[in-house]
Amino acid sequence: MARQIRNAVTLVVDGREVVAPEGSMLVDAAKGGDVEIPVFCYEPKLGEPVGACRMCLVEIEGIPKLQTACSTPVRDGMVVYTQSERAREAQNAVVEFLLVNHPLDCPVCDKGGECPLQDIAMGWGPGKSRMRDPKRHFRKPLELSPLIAIDRERCILCYRCVRFSQEVAEDEQLQLLERGDRSFVGTFEERPYVAPFHGNIIELCPVGALTSYTYRFRARPWDIEDAGTVCTLCPSQCNIKVTVRDEHVMRVLARDNAEVDDGWLCDKGRFGYQMIAAEDRITEPMARAGDGSLKAIAWEEALARIAKGLEAAGAESAVIAGGGATNEEGWLLQEIFRGALGSPHLACSPSSPDPGLLRRLSSPRLAAKTAHIDFADAILLVGCDPLNESPILDLRIRKAMRRNGARLLVAGERPTTLDGGAEQACRYKPGDATAFLSALAAELGADGFEAGGPHAEPAASAAATLKGAGDAVIVWGERLWRTPGAVEALAAIADALGLDASHGAGMLEVPESANGRGLREVGLLPGAGPGLAEAPAGRDAAGIRAGLAGDEIQAALLFDANPVRDYPQSADWAAALKSAGFLVSVSMFDDESAKFADIVLPLESYAEKEGVVTHPDGRLQRVRRGIEVPDGIRPGWRWLLDLSAALGNELEPDSQPQVWDAVADSVELYNAISLEDIGGTGLRWQDHQLAAAFEEGAGAAPGGGGGGGAPPRRGGGRPPRLRGGLRRNPPAMRPSA
């Protein structure tokens, strides 16, 4: 469904003139006039208003009864009173009713101090109680799930959690049971509420009825601070706030960003923070002793040994980065390996994208924003299971179908949680992605693809759907690169559908690691340097593995990468890493891959890091430090600069912002975007005014591939901030071996 353009209307709220989009709800429009109308059940993220709590009753001229502002669309010329005597009386009445059965145990309630019920009772309540009858009682607290405690006495039955379960996550497990004032939130036969997004109900709850076992009784709102950052546990890169008390992360909350996460978090992101303070975390440089045990060593010694080991290997060294490695860290790694060591062997995922095709697919006109999914007419999900690879997309695709009638087509080797709601779910055998996509391309009339074959029938029906729909968004998994020819066929499908011609259509690739897109774009690919510029060919991840096993690669560095756990052919990886001449692992834990490392360096968690990551849709986002880095851990950019210098490639930047500036200057796509430009909610590089230039050069190799010196900057915008003497040896100039 296409997004509707809405006209502006003017209304008067409490004597203030307010301009708002036609059809927006009064409660939202009033905010434009700085008028707050209290709400409990209203939450636009949950879909249509239900008007259940009755907290937002206001008086509207010409309508005899009071109206719920949450469900009343604004009209031109509307005159609204939120503070008239009648409105005040009704608001007082509703607060009084809500407190009839509320225990008022604020002093011992976790929500106390950050509780909407407290705030609204103070702001809109009668101020004193007339109720002296006994209140209802429930057993409490009860375990709603292993992570959430429910206190039914505090519940004001606003329906938010039940609506989330039924209409957003669609797990349908939470129900309102019984009737009237005996109503309570629960599950069928009191089974535990186990679902991948269930933690969101804690944040939705406007009272202290739903609390998490991980946060309960551990802090009070007046001794905590929230720090905004980005969760880098998966490519969704949800915007979060970490709640900090005494330099410890106490919980993770959503930091609503409609362009990224819609204000939801998955449970892994919400509850995974406990690893930050894990006892077995590596918090200082370690060296592996002969008996396999780790022994702490000084940073200087560690860096000297790493420099020595890598230097000895020279061009026969390799690097694999992954996880939440930032763009700065990725760029510095390629400076060290490509620049200082002259090695072209850089990888950031088990897949091996073709640089030329990757450049073509990076065209801003072909890119879909995450939010484009909301209003897509058709969504083709291929080679990707959002729930496991980028969970928040699962909710977004459900929303597009439920609210806007998007038609979903799923194709993949494995079932996904979205198959049930899909119009068509096609399954192909592992390794058969190319055959399926080629059949689909042929059905769509792409040149060079032949119709027929085992996938002809589902492909024809999928093609009919795609052709019949308006804007299509293709969401695809990076793992398609592992099947030769699959992404070529996908690109042909995009061309045949003309995805580059429409603003609402496009492609969205879900990388295999959190910052997969950023690491590629800063040059951690064999054959593509910063900004996907041409670079000498090298080994991909599988090649590095073979090289390690075959003694052609002498030294390797793993940066937030655990190939034994995450990459295909785990046993081969273990054998390859074991046979490595010199292995460094930068990791939070002595994990499956790190245990083969000679040196293990500690890694900052996402709550401790400063840096920039790139969302799958090209949005640059800042990871911000929420808590102090534990003693003994150095920021990645810091020691990478030192290591680079030790290897003879001394770089000028001397702080994280300076490293970022160097990255933004060096990576053509990032157009010298500053940290200020990125801000708190991020900026897609494609949306930057200079991005159009990439489009023009898309056919040719962008950037200064093979040429000398800095690439020419494109016209318009800010002058480049490229510093003289940024690097001694332009990496692209170095011979590869």
């Binding site: 008007g51 259940a52 709590c53 009755r54 009864k65 009071l66 009445a93 009858d133 009237g180 005996r182």
Partner: protein
């Protein structure tokens, strides 16, 4: 004597619930006429002009409601509200039990007029016998070709399903009925959108009471003018009135709207049992504010006159209370019913009904003071008009009327209970 039997014309005929008897007595001739001779638009206009008002409680013009449905090809529905659950109301029960085909015929004709092809009868779960009878009658009507595809060659089809509710008063509220019919928890929906625009499964939906639809065959056969010949100008037609309480002959009586209340209670129902005095009565079921003998006995029984008297005709159920009735206990019993049936979706009703019950219990338990009577009244005022549907108001209206009209009795009860507790 005093009755005007249109819907009840043959009500005591043995075997009326079978299609043969119904047809022998002239049944399905209206349907025949409507489907073979009448233009649906004319039919709709007749229904509108007849002034037939909804018999379920709200009293909204049935024809006007039908005309709100959008025209054109789409899934449209009719839901017959047979969830008769209001204390004091039992008219639909008799209409369905004894004359189910009249209802089916009315549904079919209404669907023709409003261009609807799918219809449901949502009947309360406790009406098991009536549901069985309806099931049998629907099957007979299908067999006779009065339901199903291409009825009587008119090109109009209709599927009719009898759905049994699970026994909740709230499901008689039209939007809660729709949710329940869709298989959800029976909770009222926010209006707008009104069911005529977006109702069952999101389609335009006409919802009418059993008695309303039972009136349709007569209007289709005889025309709007004939119908307006009965009743008053603003309340045309007849009404089946359920009279219960302390009267000699409780039961259903069909009268022209506008007959004096006194005639209903004293003549048709035979007057107060054991010839005691009338204290008060509910003119339209338990949700209508009570009227005292002076206030209501000599008023015409019509929508407009009952509203003027400060109450309502509602579903047309008179509950009579004689001089021995304790108003305090009556108030508590009324409040308890609505407390029990409140769905819990909106705060004023959920908490207001529960709080009111607790306060009224305190009146009887010697734990109240006269100030609590003011509080009871204030709480009723806070409920009124602030709820999602009318269930909350349905308690607030009668309870506040009782406290207002019989306050001395409440004060006396407080004093009596207090003395008793002290003794």
């Amino acid at each position: 004597v005093g009755e005007t039997r249109l819907l009840f014309r043959n009500i005591d005929e043995p075997g009326l619930s079978s299609i043969d008897t119904y047809k022998r007595l002239g049944g399905y001739q209206s349907l025949h006429k409507a489907f073979t001779e009448m233009d649906p638009d004319v039919l709709l206009r007749e229904l509108e002009e007849s002034g037939l008002r909804g018999r379920g409680g709200a009293g909204f013009s049935m024809g006007k409601k039908a005309s709100f449905l959008p025209r054109g090809e789409m899934d449209k529905y009719l839901c017959c509200n047979a969830d008769e659950s209001e204390p004091g109301a039992f008219k639909d029960r008799e209409l369905m039990q004894k004359n189910p085909h009249q209802l089916i015929e009315g549904i079919a004709i209404a669907c023709l007029a409003a261009d609807i092809t799918r219809a449901f009868i949502f009947i309360r779960g406790e009406y098991a016998l009536q549901a069985d009878i309806l099931d049998a009658a629907v099957a007979e009507a299908y067999d006779a070709g009065f339901l199903g595809d291409d009825i009587l060659g008119s090109g109009h089809s209709l599927a009719l399903v009898v759905h049994r509710g699970a026994g909740a008063y709230i499901c008689g509220e039209e939007t809660a009925l729709l949710d329940a019919l869709e298989g959800k928890r029976g909770n009222p929906r926010l209006k707008p959108p009104f069911p005529a625009v977006q109702g069952l499964y999101g389609g335009p939906t006409l919802i009418n009471n059993v008695e309303t639809l039972s009136n349709v065959p007569g209007i289709a056969a005889n025309g709007a003018e004939w119908f307006k010949g009965f009743g008053t100008e603003q309340s045309p037609g007849t009404k089946v009135v359920s009279i219960s309480g302390q009267v000699k002959r409780p039961g259903n009586y069909e009268v022209e709207l506008g007959v004096p209340v006194r005639m209903l209670i004293e003549e048709l129902a035979g007057g107060i049992a054991e010839d005691r005095e009338l204290k008060c009565f509910f003119p339209g079921g338990s949700s209508s504010p009570i009227l005292t003998a002076e206030e209501g006995l000599d008023k015409p029984y019509s929508f407009e006159a009952m509203a003027e008297a400060g109450s309502m005709l509602g579903s047309g159920s008179i509950i009579v209370c004689d001089e021995t009735t304790s108003i305090v206990e009556l108030a508590l019993r009324t409040a308890r019913f609505y407390h029990h049936e409140s769905c819990g979706k909106c705060s004023p009703c959920r908490e207001g009904t529960n709080w009111t019950v607790k306060m009224l219990e305190r009146v009887l338990l010697a734990e109240a003071t006269p100030i609590d009577l003011d509080l009871i009244t204030a709480v009723q005022a806070n409920i009124t008009g602030n709820c999602l549907c009318v269930l909350g108001d349905s308690m607030a209206a009668p309870v506040s009327a009782m406290v207002a009209k019989f306050r001395p009795e409440f004060e006396e009860a407080i004093e009596r209970a207090t003395l008793k507790a002290a003794a």
